[in-house]
Symmetry: C2
Subunit: 388 residues, 2 copies
């Protein structure tokens, strides 16, 4: 394990994270059959690993978040994306647990991804980067956890794409996951989810500044295409009701519509802002690869079409939560997971949180979620014998 | 009224429709304060106007349809968009009624729109075309109905954006509308609807071939941007369940995923096809203008914030239908209309059709809708004294 800051020119974006380098003799074997070597994962840790290494929690980040769970983001200066839940004295208590979060493989904040240098060409990978899967992300994380000398994770926690990784962890590494928390997620991506992902990819690839993926060498950025992709995805993260409550048909600070194509409505300027700020912190090709990994995720299909088979023999304790107004991962997707876990004889707690905040509710302050997660983690810690 | 075929060079797209020209002395006065003159409407008629001119039905088309309700489309060769409902012996019976449908003002199939020649410059209007509203569309239609010598329309019928026009007709021309059918529509566009419209517009305007709207003179077409806009809108026309039923996670004709960015899933190739075919028959600037008109639609706001006031004193008979899986115009939007009509003392029938086909259900064969519409039209015809 290397604790030096990342100084690779192609990864200079993230000087603050720890970097785990994996050399040519430690390749990442991908589902596609391709092999990625060398590679690196950028990660953050919070708290201290205890003597018997029993207090490690791995957080798996959703699509457009990263390893900066509980510290200010190095690019935006904003608080960590799960600052409300993770930190000293918080529910994911960094005074009690050793919390790890790594930027996923294929990501753009220090881990090897399509913006990284391809050692075979000396240029950025771009679309020569191999297509990755959720299982590949998890395989890389397992190598990091090995590197950290941790055998069993006390908990693996994630929402949305992070929840997919948690499911994959619990299926592929049954003995290494004591407890698992899956929020606003599913064991597969639906046709509608794939549709929105594909719209985002087409928007990026339609931008001539994308340059068939070679925009770094060209010195361009497919800003407009990536912004449209982000706008589209962002609408799916919110509920119709939340949009109505936050924006309704409210106009910008003007008495009436302008009869033009400027942003008359607050929802328009909000979305434009979301699009514009996203391109400052995210790589367009990473967006293609990570959405593709999500599309491909179908845990049941990987187990002969029966989701319960993915969890055969599990002894992991599961906590699953959905949000009533989430239309990206509706409650029924969580219920499918719960039914499969029940069929596999697993211990599982399930809660549907009544909220109008939509998919993004898992990132926000939801008191019912917080107390349910807290109860689950406390009980799991007692069962594991972690001192409070 | 001119029955000559349209030979204006800027309108050569549509040689088959009737054209009503309105000269400089018959201007269209727009909500924005702008005046459009001269202008023209392209329209189709089916059947024969009876002697007392009591059997005229006006159909108002949705966003991406046009005047070709019940005849093969001149560009695509496909059957008319409401061929299942309109025709001889069908529910909108062209053997009994005189059916009119005009391309909306701002459209691109023969009516004056942003692709038309601006007489002041000799070039296409592009973004110099004035921003129009639903009320403007209806005002132009009323001038066409005047031109046809029809005082009262037996029925005004429309779905989605067409339904908005029907509501506007019933509000602005109370004495001229005997019966009104509003399908899958609403009296306003929600924040979510505006959000998806804005994404579509941003996708078009992000395309460098859009050329700030002057793509006709530049000899380009913003194909990629308009295709992304269409893909986005198309997803909103279908229900999650319909997508799941039609496509699920089915792969194209290949045994497994390709680990690439080609269309692996059927839903991807379906959406790409929808995008590509749309650009062959629709003008990108028209798309901007018509979505803007929809965003601006808020019939209650036009009447002091009380929707019932829009219908004060009405004697029109109303039929309102929603579709249970329509998430673009959910049933509650129809219910708001029905409540307002009730408050205004109007005669109104309302039906929510149980279907998983989503918003587009109003264009499809829905037996419950067909028989309910049939019953309503038959009863209205008896009340109006139209011979069967």
């Amino acid at each position: 394990m290397s604790h030096k800051t990342n100084t690779c020119p192609d990864q200079a974006i993230n000087p603050d994270s720890l970097i785990a380098h994996f050399a040519d003799n430690q390749p990442l074997r991908l589902d596609s059959g391709a092999v990625l070597a060398p590679f690196q994962l950028a990660y953050q840790t919070y708290g201290t690993l205890n003597a018997d290494k029993s207090n490690a929690i791995l957080i798996c980040h959703p699509l457009t978040c990263d390893q900066h769970v509980a510290n200010p983001h190095p690019l935006t200066g904003k608080a960590g994306w799960w600052d409300n839940l993770a930190g000293a004295g918080k529910i994911i208590d960094t005074a009690r647990y050793f919390v790890i979060c790594s930027n996923v493989i294929g990501g753009c904040l220090g881990s090897t991804g399509p913006a990284s240098m391809n050692p075979q060409t000396g240029k950025p990978y771009a679309l020569d980067f191999p297509v990755i899967t959720i299982a590949d992300m998890v395989r890389a994380q397992a190598m990091l956890v090995d590197r950290l000398g941790i055998d069993t994770l006390f908990a693996v926690i994630g929402g949305s794409m992070g929840g997919c990784q948690v499911l994959q962890w619990a299926s592929a590494y049954k003995e290494r996951v004591f407890s698992a928390i899956i929020l606003a997620s599913g064991a597969r991506f639906s046709a509608q989810n794939i549709a929105f992902d594909e719209i985002g990819r087409q928007a990026v690839m339609a931008d001539p500044d994308w340059r068939d993926g070679r925009y770094i060498e060209a010195g361009t950025t497919p800003r407009k295409g990536l912004a449209v992709a982000r706008m589209t995805a962002h609408v799916t993260y919110l509920s119709e009701k939340a949009l109505h409550r936050k924006f309704g048909r409210n106009l910008q600070a003007r008495p009436q519509v302008t009869f033009g194509f400027d942003a008359d409505f607050q929802i328009e300027s909000y979305l434009r802002h979301q699009g514009m700020t996203f391109v400052e912190r995210f790589d367009a090709n990473s967006y293609l690869y990570l959405t593709r990994a999500m599309d491909y995720f179908d845990l049941a299909a990987d187990h002969g079409g029966r989701l319960a088979h993915a969890f055969s023999g599990t002894r992991t304790r599961f906590f699953v939560a959905s949000f009533s107004s989430d239309w990206l991962f509706p409650t029924r997707e969580s219920q499918l997971i719960v039914h499969a876990l029940n069929a596999a004889g697993a211990s599982v707690s399930f809660v549907e949180i009544a909220t109008d905040k939509g998919h993004d509710a898992f990132l926000l302050d939801e008191p019912v979620l917080s107390s349910a997660m807290d109860g689950f983690l406390q009980a799991s810690a007692r069962a594991k014998g972690i001192p409070s």
